[in-house]
């Protein structure tokens, strides 16, 4: 977030420097892990399908991403479960 002073000085957060940083961070996930965006998506789909066999999950809120911590890659997943009373337990097979 740009501060009042930043704005006074005309320093813009939407300058190309910010774009450079964001684009680098994204491409380095792939470079460092050898995990392309397509492969990552395929893996996410499989993980969601497997977990759905056992518990109800809020599929639209699932977040599985590769995060950089210093120079290490972490696969970080946020998978919200749905309480039984919200939705009847599925077998997980019909929509996997």
């Amino acid at each position: 977030m740009s501060s009042l002073f930043d704005r006074l000085l005309g320093r813009r957060n939407n300058g190309s420097g910010t774009a450079a940083k964001q684009r680098l961070q994204l491409v380095l996930v792939t470079d460092r892990s050898d995990l392309s965006p397509e492969k990552l998506q395929a893996m996410k789909d499989e993980i969601v399908a497997v977990i759905s066999k056992y518990v109800n999950i809020a599929r639209d809120k699932v977040e599985i991403n590769v995060e950089q911590r210093q120079r290490d890659n972490w696969l970080v997943a946020d998978i919200p479960l749905i309480k039984d009373k919200d939705r009847p337990l599925s077998t997980g097979l019909e929509d996997a």
């Binding site: 006074l8 957060n13 939407n14 450079a20």
Partner: protein, 264 residues
């Protein structure tokens, strides 16, 4: 007495490895250190030209490795700094003319007689790079605040991390344009350090003095020269504050920094 062997590398070409090697070697020599540089860019010899000793080459690194001369015969003494030497690359051969084991052999022969051995690595990640890091105690990674240079630097860091030896790495961010950083149109020092997660040892401003210096084969010109002198002192264990690249900052900008703005 045994030298510290420091390899200067980058992945990407044209980011300033040779300029950095030449200027750091002169800065270390002016601190009364005994320094020898090795041009490991076989086939694309340039360190001799930037250091201004191109007219005095008789033997080169490949001659040493292939035993056509003694190591001492291939060492060119710098005219201005009596304790500074260069071992030039061969110009008519390629990277395969030297092996990593041979590089280590040459370096080990130099160790007892010097304080610093600086190895100028070629661009790329192949044989030439492997030769250059084979005997290194430390690696300096040169990059520019520019997407392709940072990406290539990251690749180099990854390769060195994956190697069997743990080699400490530090970062030199070269060709910084403070004006563009201030306008948000260039990656900042913090951005680059953040992305690469490697400790910086120096920040060098973009400076026409560097081109003028290499035109003449002279070293340590201008503000960039000052930045290289600072890096040399840090290598030597001194605590030297980073250059304020914000030379023309006004009061308002200083206040902005005071309040946590990420000033150039």
């Amino acid at each position: 007495m045994t030298a510290r062997v420091i390899t200067i590398t980058s992945g990407k070409g044209g980011v300033g490895k040779t300029t950095t090697t030449a200027n750091l070697s002169a800065a270390l020599a002016s601190l009364n250190k005994r320094v020898v540089t090795i041009d490991a860019d076989i086939g694309l010899r340039n360190l001799d030209l930037v250091m201004g000793v191109e007219n005095r080459i008789v033997y080169d690194l490949v001659d040493v490795v292939e035993k056509r001369c003694k190591l001492r015969q291939a060492m060119i003494k710098h005219k201005r700094y009596p304790e500074l030497y260069l071992i030039p690359a061969a110009q008519t051969r390629d990277k395969t003319a030297v092996s990593p084991a041979q590089m280590i052999e040459v370096i080990n022969e130099l160790r007892p007689d010097f304080d610093f051995v600086l190895v100028d690595s070629p661009a790329g990640i192949e044989r030439g790079f492997r030769n250059a890091v084979a005997g290194a105690d430390e690696v300096l990674i040169v990059t520019n605040p520019e997407v392709s240079a940072v990406r290539d630097a990251d690749r180099i860091v990854g390769l060195i991390e994956a190697g069997e030896r743990k080699i400490p790495m530090r970062l030199i961010i070269n060709r910084v344009k403070p004006d563009m950083v201030r306008k948000g149109e260039m990656l900042s020092i913090d951005d680059v350090v953040d992305i690469l997660s490697i400790k910086p040892i120096g920040v060098v401003p973009d400076d026409e003095g560097i081109l003028i210096g290499s035109n003449r084969g002279e070293l340590l010109n201008g503000r960039a020269g000052e930045a290289f002198r600072n890096i040399a002192r840090r290598l030597n264990g001194e605590e030297v504050p980073f250059l304020n690249l914000d030379g023309n900052s006004n009061l308002l900008q200083r206040i902005a920094r005071l309040f946590g703005g990420s000033g150039g």
